[in-house]
Amino acid sequence: MSNPVIVTAPEGLPFIDIEREFDAPVAAVFRAHREPELVKQWLGPNGYEMDIAEWDFTTHGAYRYVHHDPQGGAWGFHGTFHSVRENEFAVQTFEFEGVPDVVAVETIAFEDLGGGRSRVRIHSTYPSVEARDGMVQSGMEGGLTEGFERLDALVAEGASA
C-alpha cells in the first residue's frame, strides 16, 4: 500500500491542503519537482500526456504546460515560481487557462522526515470558495480515470437496466 494523500478542503474557506509522505529523501522529491523531464513523468492524471513549454523551478521562474487527455482534450496551466528554496520550500501561482485570471497561490513545503523519508505539504489559496470549487471541478472534468470510467459504465448500466 502506498502512502495516503490527505486532502483537506474546509467548508466555507477558499483553501485546499494536500499532504503526502514519500519513502524517498527530501532531495529526491525536490528534484522530481524541479527537473521538467521528471515532472512530466508524474504531474497530472494517469494517461495524460504532458507538454511542458516552460519549467524554471527557481525564484522568479515561471512555468507553462498542457495536459492532453486520451479523448484529445487539452488543458493548459501556467504560473510563476515566486520563491523556491532547495529541499525546503516554494511559493507559486497557479492558473488553469480554462478559467483565466482566477489565480491560486500555492505554497509547497518539503520536509525531511529522517530515515530517507520525506513529506510534501501543499497549501493552495483561491480568490474565493466559488473559485476553489469551480476551478478544481473544471480542471477535473477531463480527468476521467480508469476508475471513473468504470463508474460511468456502472451508471450507464443502471440507466439502461
Binding site: 486532502v7 529526491a28 456502472l154 437496466a161
Partner: protein, 125 residues
C-alpha cells in the same frame, strides 16, 4: 468536505468491487430498490453462493448494506458511499493519489542514479 486520507484503501476497495461486471449488474439492480440474494441471483447464470460472494465484496467496499428483515435480509444500495466516488473532492484526491503514485515510481527509479553518480547541477541554486 471530507478527508479521506485516513481510509486510503476505501477507493481501492470500491473500484476493485466495481471492476466486476456481475457486481456492477447487482449495483444497477439495487439502484431500482432493495432486493434479496435470490432476486439478485436471478438474471445471472451463476450459483446463489457466487452471488452471495459478490455481495460480500460490495458490502466490504461499503457500497451495499444488508438489513435484518426477518428471513429476507434484503440488500440495499449505500447511495452516500457511491456519491463519495463522484464528489469533486474525491476526484481531486484520486488524481493526486495517482499522481503521487507516479511520483513514487519516479523516485524509485532515481534511487539508482543518486547512489551511482552525483549530479553537479544539484549543488547550485
Amino acid at each position: 468536505m471530507r478527508d479521506h486520507g485516513a481510509d486510503d484503501g476505501w477507493l481501492d476497495r470500491a473500484f476493485l468491487a466495481l471492476a466486476d461486471p456481475v457486481r456492477r449488474g447487482i449495483i444497477a439492480r439495487l439502484s431500482r430498490g432493495p432486493a434479496t440474494v435470490n432476486e439478485l441471483a436471478e438474471p445471472f447464470s451463476i450459483t446463489k453462493q457466487a452471488v452471495s460472494k459478490h455481495i460480500q465484496v460490495l458490502e466490504q467496499a461499503g457500497l451495499v448494506t444488508r438489513t435484518r428483515d426477518a428471513q429476507r435480509r434484503p440488500v440495499h444500495l449505500a447511495p452516500a458511499e457511491l456519491e463519495r466516488l463522484t464528489g469533486w473532492i474525491d476526484r481531486y484526491r484520486l488524481i493526486h493519489e495517482q499522481q503521487y503514485r507516479s511520483l513514487d515510481a519516479v523516485l524509485e527509479a532515481s534511487v539508482g542514479d543518486d547512489t551511482a553518480a552525483h549530479h553537479p547541477k544539484e549543488k547550485e541554486s
